[in-house]
Amino acid sequence: MSEPELYWEDFVPGETREFGEKHVTREEIVDFAKDYDPQPFHLDEKAGAASILGGLCASGWHSCAMLMRMMCDGYILQSASLGAPGVDEVRWQKPVYVDDVLRVRNTCIDRRASKSRPEMGLTKFRTELVNQKDEVCLLMTGWAMYARRDPSAPVETGGAV
């Protein structure tokens, strides 16, 4: 594996990165739903149109998974990522429909060093999955773990933005 480009130090509260262009196909919506969420509105146009969701749309878990892939391609695979302890909140605000084109708007909103593990730090992001109409389909907030470039450097403790 090549040397990571992004360490914990490189994510600065207040900074936003925008990236990705993901065209969502009918086939992948239905494939995911068959495997993990076979509810009628994720499998069938008619059932989708008749539901409160208004059309065939992706499982919310599929939206999370697509967002994860876009984040991997956007920066995580070039980073010293150490995974995540969880996610504070996900809001599924708008359905993701067939032929939507999605992009990610990712804002670092807080960070702190780990007391128990000086080789890593935590970074909090507010992440939006946005469609071609500029609607936020999914809003996620949570902490992720990254290796520090220099674990011995003193840490500035800034407040959340």
């Binding site: 594996m1 495997d35 993990y36 969420d37 076979p38 509810q39 009628p40 509105f41 539901s51 409160i52 969701l53 499982s59 919310g60 878990w61 999370c64 998974a65 697509m66 994860m68 892939r69 991997c72 995580i76 695979l77 990522s81 150490l82 995974g83 995540a84 302890p85 969880g86 996610v87 504070d88 909140e89 996900v90 809001r91 599924w92 605000q93 809003l139 949570g142």
Partner: protein
């Protein structure tokens, strides 16, 4: 799906178990979360996790799989035309935690427990039901938990 009025706080449903095999872990991660500790046995050994682990989104997606399976079985048990409403969509979830990694061969047992019911002023025909959802491995360790939310139809509203 039961009506909002018929759902009781404290009601717990066991959803069954799922074994995470290596090819399944790698296949999901290859599509959705291609970080080396999810996709590459050797790289995973050298990582902080010390071995291949499942994407947290994979662990969650399997919870959904077993949840839907449980609802379909319940529907079949009661009969197609028992008059109960269809399952509604979810506005999202809270406090998702992955406290222990899911490793190759782990058997994860999933459950859901109703913890809160909320009336919606703006939508008198719907309520929000919050549930504490869990996945536990074969050693009794919690591997996943989150507070799920579902919009559920009310039988009586005016």
């Amino acid at each position: 799906m039961p009506w909002f009025e018929d759902i009781a706080i404290g009601e717990k449903t066991e959803l069954g178990s799922y074994i995470f095999e290596a090819d399944d872990i790698v296949s999901f991660a290859g599509k959705f979360d291609p970080q080396p500790f999810h996709t590459d046995e050797e790289a995973a050994k050298a990582s902080a996790y010390g071995g291949l682990i499942a994407s947290g989104w994979h662990t969650c997606s399997v919870w959904m799989k077993l949840m839907v399976k449980s609802r379909i079985a319940e529907k079949a048990r009661k009969g197609e035309d028992d008059g109960s409403p269809p399952g509604g969509p979810s506005p999202g979830f809270l406090e998702l935690k992955w406290p222990t990694p899911v490793r190759v061969g782990d058997r994860i047992t999933y459950s859901t427990e109703v913890i809160e019911k909320v009336d919606l002023k703006s939508r008198p025909n719907l309520g929000i039901v919050r549930s504490l959802n869990k996945g536990v491995n074969q050693n009794g360790e919690l591997v996943m938990s989150f507070i799920g939310q579902g919009l559920v139809q009310k039988r009586d509203h005016s």
